[in-house]
């Protein structure tokens, strides 16, 4: 038995979707039953979060394929982006979800990832010990989930990316039956969050020669939605790329990161590769191996034996605009704080060749739709 950690099950609002844990209070210092902070707190500074997350690790029950281990762990920060933090504690990965994440939606997404039917597709979250349906705890103002650690891919692995495996996994995800209950309880996939954010940053600079073609291409999208009329609605990942795969030793490849997962047109999960290909960055043989494996797996997003572009065109255009807008916003120094009155701020990033390809593709999109 590990050291006593004061934990209170947080029943209000989140309907037992999360367990509350003090962000700063050392184990044993909080009397049982004492009300613990679960809203935004100034105490949970970024420096404390990894340690607080590490204290949480032992509360999560190890999965069958994650060896149980003794505390204490030395937390290793694996990735930090804005307020999203991933910390490794031995064989467990702890993820602090962005501030403002809706606890109910996250819990619903985690329950999808925990479905036995998707065990060979999505990496399953670790449940809290003794609470097999609870996959989230709270540290200060952030929700934390726990996962088996696996081997992720990075930019050095460009030639090792498992295109065929990826196509097969996405097909299986999209073939997960969607029932009436899912339509009510599984959130809508977040397929347009980044696009909307980036384009909003660019709007005040519409006359800039790099911004104009991006906004013109954006105008061809109309008002895209996660589900599209006349299209299948399935469980979709919502932000799929090769960084969303991990290999668990002895188990195989699994899809990770359910923050944007939900119901929508499965074509959105092919949008990034489709945009890479259509923008001239991805050789045909790699695109073909992804698409062939997806079709062989019965993936419902594209016709089995017909031109896929009538259905991929809109998602591919949307992601091309998103890539171009992201690069141009960074290039112009339009950071997260674009709502301030100070105009462009932050360090400008150089525009790379791939970024120019996306801007050029935006010009072609505009051209093809006028």
């Amino acid at each position: 038995m590990g050291p006593a950690v004061a934990v209170r099950v947080h029943l209000a609002a989140a309907q037992a979707d999360a367990v509350t844990m003090p962000g700063e209070t050392a184990p044993g210092e909080t009397a049982p039953g004492e009300t613990l902070p679960d809203g935004p707190t100034s105490r949970g500074s970024a420096g404390d979060l990894p340690a607080a997350m590490a204290r949480l690790a032992e509360l999560f029950a190890p999965a069958a394929d994650v060896p149980s281990q003794a505390a204490p762990w030395t937390p290793v920060v694996e990735s930090r982006r804005d307020d999203r933090l991933i910390v490794r504690c031995g064989e467990i990965m702890l993820k602090a979800h962005p501030i403002g994440t809706d606890p109910r939606s996250l819990a619903a997404r985690l329950r999808v990832a925990a479905r036995p039917a998707l065990r060979e597709v999505l990496l399953g979250p670790l449940a809290l010990a003794g609470q097999p349906a609870t996959f989230v705890a709270r540290v200060g103002s952030q929700l934390v989930s726990a996962w088996p650690a696996g081997r992720a891919l990075g930019a050095r692995d460009v030639d090792a990316a498992p295109w065929t495996r990826a196509g097969a996994l996405l097909a299986r995800l999209h073939r997960q039956p969607v029932g009436l209950g899912d339509l009510a309880t599984v959130p809508t996939a977040n397929v347009l969050r980044r696009l909307t954010d980036r384009v909003t940053r660019l709007r005040p600079h519409a006359a800039h020669p790099l911004v104009a073609p991006v906004l013109a291409a954006h105008d061809t999208l109309g008002r895209p939605t996660a589900s599209r009329p006349g299209r299948p609605t399935t469980v979709v990942h919502g932000d799929w790329h090769f960084g969303q795969l991990v290999e668990i030793p002895g188990v195989g490849w699994r899809i990770i990161d359910v923050d944007d997962l939900g119901l929508g047109d499965p074509a959105w999960d092919l949008a990034r590769p489709a945009a890479w290909f259509a923008s001239g960055l991805l050789p045909l043989e790699r695109w073909a191996s992804l698409l062939d494996a997806y079709r062989a797996g019965g993936g419902p997003a594209v016709p089995a034996d017909d031109d896929p572009w009538p259905v991929l065109d809109l998602p591919a255009r949307a992601l091309t605009v998103e890539y171009a807008a992201t690069a141009v916003a960074a290039h112009l120094g339009l950071g997260q704080d674009s709502t301030s009155d100070h105009g462009p701020t932050g360090a400008a990033a150089p525009l790379e060749d791939v970024d120019r390809e996306f801007v050029a593709a935006c010009a072609r999109i505009h051209e093809a739709h006028t």
Partner: protein, 114 residues
């Protein structure tokens, strides 16, 4: 869309969601769901639709007839340099001839991040 229903059970406001063209009112309080006449049937049809291969929707922009996507304007001057046995194709604005930029560092990073 513009009206607000009140939940008949707990009297909280109900919010309208669109699920693939079907309007669903869900209570913000008790999460109960209100379906209008015909919506249950529409949802049941959707439920059966999940695994069916997509029928191509009416394209937003005029697509050229079967036989591929001739590229528009001066951007698409080059002919497709490969056979397309498995229906890979590309959109009207596409440059999908794969000119080897995948070795570029920027592309490698993009492959693995949002």
């Amino acid at each position: 869309m513009s009206y607000t229903l009140q939940c008949p059970k707990c009297h909280a406001a109900m919010r309208t969601y669109n699920r693939n063209g079907v309007q669903i009112e869900q209570c913000d309080g008790c999460r109960g769901i209100f379906l209008d006449y015909g919506e249950l049937e529409a949802l049941t049809r959707l439920e059966g639709q999940w695994s069916q291969p997509a029928a191509p929707p009416p394209p937003a922009a005029p697509y050229p007839p079967a036989g591929g996507y001739p590229q528009a304007g001066h951007y698409g001057a080059q002919p497709a340099p490969y056979a397309q046995p498995g229906h890979y194709g590309q959109p009207a604005w596409g440059h999908g001839q794969g000119h080897g930029r995948s070795k570029h560092g920027g592309f490698a990073r993009m492959l693995f991040s949002s």
